[in-house]
């Protein structure tokens, strides 16, 4: 009996080790490859240790796609998206959770509908809309359409529903305005959920690909995913540059994940599992 259990545990560890290697190797390879030249990359045997071409690759990446600028674009877009979208989502979630107003049902319906309807349906009409107001190749066209994020609204609504009404009522009696009550009394109490919302909105903003791909035309306005994609389409692909670019594109998300694992998991679940 005991021997069988020990064997089972060993097997379990073996599975975990194998899974860990599979998930880790592409990252390690990405990091090692970013420091070699393309020909060294595909050399047999492949390099196992970091090489000395990191700065070479970086300067070439800067030359071909203006990587510094592209990173700043992505960072700016993701940050603006995160701040605005979180504010909009938190406010709307609070309104839906704590007030009864005309059109509330309709709004909730719209929120749920956007969750179910894939945004690809909106691609063509949104594109034409942006074209007709002359917003193609602008940052606001990238950010604005996806600010009202149904996932975020529902996540926030869920966390506000359980918030005690008595606290809001007493703030009201003390003469605090509705917005101030929200900002000063309610929001600080849902900080963990707010953290999850922020992380997830940032990830979504940083990762978004198809919409920026459609909207942005000038290379100096590209986001990181769009710029990386143009590199893969060339006839002579700069593979080591690509690997460095991928590494740098992934680092901010990895840092966020390692710093805020708990919120990351909470965001994944988003109240959905609670059922």
């Amino acid at each position: 009996m005991k021997g069988a259990r020990l064997g089972l545990r060993l097997l379990a560890r073996a599975v975990l080790v194998a899974g860990g290697i599979v998930s880790l190797v592409p990252f390690l390879w990405m990091a090692i490859a970013a420091t070699h030249s393309t020909s060294e990359l595909f050399h047999s045997p492949p390099p196992f240790l970091p090489g000395g071409r990191l700065l070479d690759n970086l300067s070439r990446l800067q030359e071909t796609i203006g990587f510094g600028r592209v990173m700043l674009n992505s960072l700016g877009i993701a940050l603006v998206h995160t701040v605005l979208s979180s504010v909009v989502s938190a406010m709307c979630g609070y309104g839906l959770a704590k007030y009864r107003f005309r059109g509330r049902g309709l709004l909730l319906g719209a929120v749920l509908a956007t969750m179910m309807i894939p945004f690809q349906v909106l691609l063509v009409p949104l594109f034409q809309m942006m074209a007709s107001i002359g917003w193609i190749d602008t940052y606001q066209a990238v950010v604005l359409p996806f600010l009202a994020n149904s996932f975020g609204i529902l996540l926030m609504r869920q966390s506000f529903v359980d918030f005690p009404d008595e606290l809001i009522e007493s703030a009201r009696i003390d003469g605090s305005g509705e917005l101030r009550t929200f900002y000063r009394v309610v929001l600080p109490c849902v900080r963990p959920q707010l953290g999850a919302l922020v992380i997830f909105t940032f990830m979504a903003g940083w990762n978004s690909f198809i919409w920026p791909l459609l909207m942005l035309n000038s290379e100096d306005r590209y986001t990181v995913p769009v710029a990386l994609n143009t590199l893969t389409g060339l006839s002579h692909v700069d593979y080591s540059g690509l690997m460095l670019g991928s590494l740098l594109a992934t680092l901010p998300l990895m840092a966020l994940f390692l710093l805020f694992q708990r919120q990351f998991v909470a965001g994944l679940l988003g109240g959905a599992v609670k059922g």
């Binding site: 860990g20 047999s44 704590k98 894939p118 349906v121 690997m243 590494l247 594109a249 599992v273």
Partner: protein, 313 residues
């Protein structure tokens, strides 16, 4: 759910000598203040969701010829039945749904159960390690797999070459391209689903395992009879979200293979993108989009019917 303005029970401030008049005023005030919070989202929804949604429905019944828009009824929808590329994109999606999703959910379940074991040391580290793929930038990981799977000199071919296999033409042969896409998707999303399943497992109390042990249930019986039934809603959530993700697949296969070779990794959304933004056939693109919506709705409903019954009881 508690709603502020309907609270008129004893103990609240609205208990007044003249009931019926007093509560009305705050209620009207709150009617308007609710909108202060909802207005930004509502405006954004109206502008960037409701309007384009309506426009897209109408557009799917039209065709554009030399700048002139015609009403063509259901023609755009009829076209799809004879469009081999579109049918192929559906078949590819079906293959991923039937092969990749069950394999991935199965692996995620195994991982989640292992990571939930109390005897496992450094559980936090193990978890982080397995969830790492879930935090890569979508485009970046597709790029990395493109380099890993390169036919001449790619790391994967060098590794299988050691065992005397290959070189395999991972991305340029139709069958291998499908396999590559499936492997790539599994690498990225297994950890993601494992996180969700792990959270579901942790919601099941320790006492349930103990109770099962007292009743003489072995490990296997405990999992099939006690744990899995309770995990059912979470599993259903994973299956439904993975299905929706598969039906909306774009980033991975667009970056990895552009839908090729010979449309072997074409998905409806990549096809929609090509039709709409490379051929500028907007009416047809809109119709394709609505077929994707219909498929998502139908398959999700089916999954709820088949696996969701237990919840209602």
């Amino acid at each position: 759910m508690a709603v502020l303005d309907t609270r008129t029970g004893p103990g609240t401030t609205s208990a007044r000598p003249v009931p019926g008049r007093r509560p009305r005023r705050p209620r009207r005030r709150l009617r308007r203040t609710g909108w202060i919070f909802a207005a930004p989202a509502a405006a954004l929804f109206a502008l960037f969701f409701a309007y384009p949604l309506g426009a897209s429905v109408l557009q799917s019944f039209t065709s554009e010829d030399a700048g002139a828009v015609h009403w063509v009824g259901l023609d755009q929808y009829r076209r799809m039945f004879h469009d081999t590329a579109f049918l192929k994109s559906l078949a590819n999606t079906g293959l991923i749904l039937v092969v990749q999703v069950p394999v991935m959910i199965g692996l995620a379940l195994v991982l989640a159960v292992l990571l939930n074991q109390s005897w496992l040391r450094f559980r936090g580290t193990w978890r982080a390690l397995h969830f790492l793929p879930a935090v890569t930038t979508l485009v970046a990981y597709a790029v990395v797999f493109q380099v890993l799977l390169k036919t001449d000199g790619g790391l994967v071919n060098q590794i299988v070459g050691v065992f005397g296999i290959g070189p395999v033409d991972w991305l340029n042969d139709p069958t291998w391209a499908r396999i590559s896409l499936i492997l790539t998707l599994t690498w990225r999303w297994t950890g993601y689903n494992a996180v969700i399943l792990l959270a579901g497992l942790q919601a099941i109390g320790k006492d349930q395992y103990e109770a099962a042990a007292i009743d003489g249930a072995g490990t296997f019986t405990t999992y099939t009879r006690v744990v899995l039934p309770q995990l059912r809603p979470v599993l259903l959530f994973c299956v439904v979200t993975s299905t929706i993700g598969t039906l909306q697949l774009f980033d991975e296969n667009y970056v990895l293979t552009r839908g090729g070779p010979d449309d072997a990794t074409l998905t409806p959304v990549v096809y929609l993108y090509k039709v709409g933004f490379q051929q500028f056939d907007f009416g047809y693109a809109a119709a394709i989009a609505w077929v994707v919506v219909a498929l998502i709705a139908a398959i999700s409903a089916l999954q709820y019917l088949l696996f969701g019954r237990e919840r209602r009881r």
